[in-house]
Symmetry: C2
Subunit: 257 residues, 2 copies
């Protein structure tokens, strides 16, 4: 039976970094009106409870090295389910426009006259460092922050990392933990072996873990955690604000400086 | 009368870009337990209704060119009110750690053994462009985004703008509209006069207004809006995703290219 809400439309929703309370009021309202929820691996599945019980729930997540669905298949599924059921909520971890390919999905839907709304989410780029006590900007430490990906279209390290290594901006690298050694090499090439680094796994979740070090040592320190979860790399002076940094400095002063 | 919640503590809360529904569930829960709310000019005042009616509400906002309170005075007020009343909620526009000086406030409170919690907010840096249909990252247009401020400690344009002009990163400049001409000059120096630019005022609010153009023309276009509200500058290929861009291109093709 058609309901008044049942016209084809797409809500691109950011679910935030993992903690299910870090979703917006607006996003929960949209979820409550979903006919279909297409959700990622990164989004916390507890959030699915906010959708009506009769709403279809379809996992379309991409996991590292194993694509459940290609982006083209997701685009097609959005259109098919919108035309068949009505309101499609596309629930993504973080924010849909921060390496989320959200605009591609919106543009594809637009080809079928399916309108979209964008409901921003808490990006892990700012919040995950912040929850570890690392502000991405701080007077005296950093006037700007640069958000990059370790996972470009070509699978290579983004050239932007090379440029970021030459600035004093805080660099926040998403989806880059598997390339941590390569990233460190880029910084070392520019004599930045002493710059502080944090690698944060499973940010904002109970399984959160962090490695603190400097460019020259971080790959080894992070490896010791042996964490396979999604990780965020933060490079720059602001990492000194992490409470562990002072401890490391006191105990291994020679090592860190 | 002391209550069980009445011990001195600080919640640094991001209120998001302006739309009061773009606050997180976690932030609302903290607000509901506030004994004192210290709030900025940027935060939507409707949110104050979520605090208990008996909670003190104190405006500590800084408006352009007119500081209601200095940062030192705010730091002191946080400590005084926390010691006197208990739970202080510091409600800031956007996210507390994106040019919000939140960590300075947390560090000052820590000197008095007042613990803090950080509750991230939707930063206008990503959400305000996104709500205008401009994704800060997009395959084929931009692999990264760089968030800068036009308003540094010294009052001068950040040197990072000079570096950003030499990259293909999307540049998002907060608090920079009064320096729009200076910013354009920096890009022109690097032969980037044709790079698309958007200036968005009062993002996510009813009074939202946008100017779309390119580096060579944006200062004039933005001036015609005559908008004195807080504005965000977005520079880079992703601005071509704004729906007005295709219209401008069609009607003023010569002008824009």
């Amino acid at each position: 039976m058609k309901t008044k809400n049942n016209f084809p439309r797409l809500s691109l929703i950011g679910a935030g970094p993992g903690d299910p309370e870090l979703i917006t009021v607006k996003a929960l309202k949209a979820l409550a009106q979903a006919d279909v929820v297409l959700y990622d691996a990164l989004a916390n599945e507890v959030l699915l409870d906010y959708a009506p019980s009769k709403a279809k729930r379809i996992f379309v997540g991409k996991r590292k090295g194993k694509h459940s669905l290609t982006q083209d298949e997701i685009n097609t599924l959005i259109v098919q389910t919108a035309l068949q059921y009505g309101h499609v909520v596309r629930l993504k971890g973080g924010d849909p426009f921060v390496f989320g390919r959200g605009k591609e999905e919106a543009d594809y839907a637009a080809l079928f006259n399916i309108p979209y709304e964008y409901i921003p989410g808490i990006s892990s780029a700012v919040s995950v460092p912040g929850l570890q006590g690392i502000p991405v900007t701080h007077r005296g430490s950093s006037e700007s922050f640069w958000v990059l990906t370790g996972n470009t279209k070509k699978g290579t390290l983004s050239k932007d990392v090379e440029l970021a290594a030459q600035t004093n901006a805080t660099a926040v690298i998403l989806m880059g933990t598997s390339k941590l050694k390569d990233i460190a090499k880029v910084y070392q090439k520019h004599n930045k072996g002493d710059v502080p680094v944090a690698v944060i796994y499973n940010g904002s979740q109970f399984s959160e873990a962090v490695a603190i070090g400097k460019i020259d040592t971080i790959a080894e320190t992070a490896q010791q955690l042996n964490n396979k979860g999604p990780g965020i790399i933060v490079i720059g002076e602001v990492v000194k604000h992490h409470p562990d940094y002072a401890v490391l400095l006191r105990e291994f002063g020679q090592f860190l400086n």
